[in-house]
């Protein structure tokens, strides 16, 4: 019964996701696709999830306009910010648009388009702040910015300035509100959005530095660069780009200096107000509940992804781990040595690096795995090492007489393992394996670095976009607990059943 269920789940899951690249680049029919990537966590107003989980933002609008211009169909592929360029080089998608400023140093292996947006650093302080009017007032103050903020390089150092780098922009604003820091320095778009969303913050001072956002393509595709540049030109000439920027309230002095004056229509202003309102969870409680209910479909999808990946990885870890343990315990020296080396190598290196290697490294050797498969393989192999050690402990805990009795009855080594040793070892290792499964479920959150949208990734997306870390945090915590719980209960039952037999006096003497 159980086996059937697993087989069905496997079948459905593998058929759908395992062997398809994330793009679904089946597109032989219809217009050619323009696969574009961004970090859906990069925040408002760039690229972010709306309450229904749809990806929106000013860069989304721009890339759609460009795709339309080129007669292509825009297809979104989410990836972790740090992995956007590796993913591009690996051919996961055609173009990255994610607030990437042109760097004076240049970037190896990639090409930047002409700018589609001129930005700059903008200081944000608390509403009641009076002492900070200008960047120069930051002497001996603490300011926050984004971990990878590129604007910092064009800003002159200030004495005693303490710069804190945050993994998520939103947390910087949060700390500003809580007075852990005195100001936040980030790109104008974020500053504009978060001062509108979060009460008690304001922008101060003149534009700082100069950031020209360009799209990025792989240097294998100079022809795409040409097409994109041509499209940007058309968008600026027809006023489409201006319209998009205004509707996201991103029109700024630099843009005006570049493209001339532009006045927003009422419709465009209304669009912005509506977006802000829909992202704001800080309204009345019943509004919040309604919003949470609206999140349910995304939550469920992410939970299923997490659970299925975890189950399949664990299955892989348990089967390969058993084999590895047997080799390590019973096989001749060169094999057992190799097995223990594999185990140590996998246990001794961070899972994150293993995932990077499998997903972004192996393509250099011509092995290109789809994300889900790479994720299952990465998690599975990493946990295989731990499970092998669990099994090994189980196998050597079984009295030597068991193997001898089985052999003396005429069983082959394999038969003895299969009918006598392994069943006993499994009963011994159920508790540590349950433990490991729970931590595997949690470790699966690392898979966001290889474009998989699982539960934690969904949480950060929603929490960032809605500035709601507490409520959503609790909901997601409960989800994780609920996912692990059935397995804990199952293990308890199995333990109780097995424990009474493999008893205190299995073998005397």
């Amino acid at each position: 019964m159980h086996r059937c269920l697993i087989a069905v789940i496997l079948g459905v899951f593998m058929g759908q996701a395992l062997f398809a690249e994330p793009s679904g680049s089946s597109g032989s029919s219809g217009p050619k696709e323009l696969r574009w990537a961004a970090d859906p966590n990069s925040g408002v107003p760039y690229v972010f999830a709306d309450p229904k989980g749809a990806i929106i933002g000013f860069e989304v609008d721009i890339i759609h306009a460009i795709a339309e211009c080129l007669g292509r169909k825009a297809v979104f592929i989410g990836n972790n910010f740090d992995c956007l360029i590796p993913g591009l080089r690996r051919g996961l998608y055609d173009v990255v648009i994610n607030g990437l400023p042109l760097l004076p140093t240049g970037s190896p292996g990639v090409l930047y388009t002409d700018p589609y947006f001129l930005s700059y650093g903008q200081l944000v302080v608390r509403q009641n702040e009076t002492t900070i009017q200008h960047f120069d007032d930051l002497e001996n103050r603490k300011i926050g910015t984004y971990r990878n903020w590129k604007g910092g390089i064009s800003i002159k150092p200030i004495e005693g300035l303490e710069l804190r780098r945050y993994a998520y922009e939103v947390n910087a604003y949060e700390d500003l509100l809580h007075r852990r820091i005195d100001a936040v320095l980030l790109d104008f778009p974020e500053s504009a959005y978060y001062t509108a969303l979060i009460k008690g913050l304001k922008m101060v001072g003149p534009p700082l530095g100069n950031l020209e956002y360009g799209m990025v393509v792989s240097d294998d595709h100079p022809e795409l660069l040409e097409e994109l540049n041509a499209a940007i030109k058309i968008l600026t000439q027809t006023g489409v780009l201006q319209g998009i920027l205004v509707s996201w309230k991103l029109w700024n002095p630099r843009m005006e200096a570049w493209l001339g004056p532009y006045t927003a229509t009422e419709e465009q202003t209304a669009h912005y107000e509506k977006t802000i309102a829909s992202q704001n969870t800080d309204t009345a409680d019943d509004g919040r509940v309604v919003r949470y209910i609206g999140f349910l479909p995304i939550l469920l999808e992410a939970a299923i992804t997490t659970l299925l990946i975890s189950l399949l990885s664990m299955l892989l870890a348990l089967t390969l781990g058993l084999f590895l343990a047997i080799v390590r315990v019973y096989w001749a020296r060169p094999f057992s040595l190799l097995a223990s080396m594999i185990i140590e190598a996998l246990r001794g290196t961070p899972l994150l690096i293993q995932l990077y290697l499998i997903f972004y490294g192996l393509p250099h050797l011509g092995i290109k795995l789809p994300p889900i498969l790479a994720g299952i393989l990465g998690l599975g192999l990493n946990y295989m090492a731990y499970e092998a050690e669990n099994y090994r402990a189980g196998l050597i805990a079984i009295p030597k007489g068991q193997m001898e009795a089985a052999r003396a009855l005429g069983m082959s080594h394999f038969q003895a393992l299969r009918h006598v040793m392994i069943p006993q070892a499994i009963r011994i290792v159920i508790p540590p394996i349950t433990n490991d499964f729970i931590s595997l479920i949690k470790d699966s959150s690392l898979l966001s670095v290889i474009t998989i949208v699982e539960l934690t990734e969904t949480y950060t997306q929603l929490a960032n976009a809605h500035y709601d870390f507490l409520g959503l945090g609790l909901i997601f915590a409960v989800l994780y607990l609920l996912m692990g719980l059935p397995f804990v209960l199952l293990a308890r039952r199995a333990e109780r059943k097995g424990g009474s037999r493999v008893g205190i006096r299995g073998a005397k003497g």
């Binding site: 052999r407 082959s412 037999r501 008893g503 005397k508 003497g509």
Partner: protein, 255 residues
């Protein structure tokens, strides 16, 4: 005797890590014999039994059980490639009972008895079960077939282990101190099973410290010391008038 021995051991040598434990042991056991092996601790009794059953691989010499024969020139020579195959055939003719019972704790008594016939001999479940009940009845445990080993007394566990070995219909049974880990009041029930088997004509070799059992039940007694067989004698001879002075010294303690 013109009859061929069922166990024939010739100049058996066995060493562990360069230390020789058996220095050329020769022994013949005939169909239906009950042989007791006695001797001081560490003299190689267990090693001898384990060699007969190929749980240890001999260094040199010859071991025959029934029609299967295993021989090896010296430790330097690799056992011949069909050695493992022969060892397997040999094991299937020999039942072994251990001091620690070594029942499979995750299986019921019935499953313990049925496992090897099903796995090794590929007997059908129904047939294996029928046979299992026969041997369990023989050792007086039919009522306990559904219990797990941990819930039985030591004597019952050892009888179950005997039944498990019998289910493979061995031609020879080997026992390595079958009663040594039993409480004294449980010893007799196990020894009684062995006497019953003797009455049925089973060939049995018993390493034991139960001198009264050795004296009363066995056809003859093998006395070992220092990795050699020192004396093989009728139970009366060896207990009343042992020829070898080492045997005399050993047995003095039991008078």
């Amino acid at each position: 005797m013109s009859e061929r021995p069922i166990i024939h051991i010739e100049d058996l040598h066995k060493s562990f890590d360069e230390v020789e434990v058996l220095h050329g042991v020769s022994l013949d056991v005939y169909q239906g014999d009950l042989v007791s092996i006695i001797g001081p601790s560490g003299c190689g009794k267990s090693t001898l039994l384990r060699c007969i059953n190929c749980l240890e691989i001999l260094d040199s010499g010859k071991i025959c059980v029934g029609d299967v024969s295993l021989s090896r020139k010296s430790k330097q020579v690799h056992p011949n490639p069909r050695f493992e195959e022969h060892a397997h055939q040999l094991r299937s003719q020999v039942g072994m009972v251990f001091q620690a019972f070594n029942l499979f704790p995750h299986k019921t008594i019935l499953e313990n008895v049925m496992l090897a016939p099903q796995v090794v001999k590929k007997e059908s479940e129904a047939y294996a079960e029928e046979r299992a009940y026969q041997v369990l009845k023989k050792v007086g445990l039919a009522r306990y077939s559904g219990r797990y080993p941990a819930s039985l007394s030591g004597g019952q566990q050892q009888r179950a282990a005997i039944a498990r070995a019998l289910a493979m219909t061995p031609r020879v049974m080997l026992y390595d101190e079958p009663t040594s880990s039993l409480d004294p009041e449980l010893v007799q029930e196990v020894l009684q099973v062995m006497r019953d088997l003797d009455a049925e004509g089973m060939t049995q070799v018993v390493v034991t410290h139960e001198m009264s059992f050795a004296r009363d039940a066995s056809d003859y007694i093998v006395y070992m010391e220092g990795g050699r067989i020192v004396e093989i004698a009728d139970e009366d001879e060896i207990f009343i008038a042992p020829k070898d002075e080492r045997t005399q010294r050993f047995l003095k303690r039991f008078r």
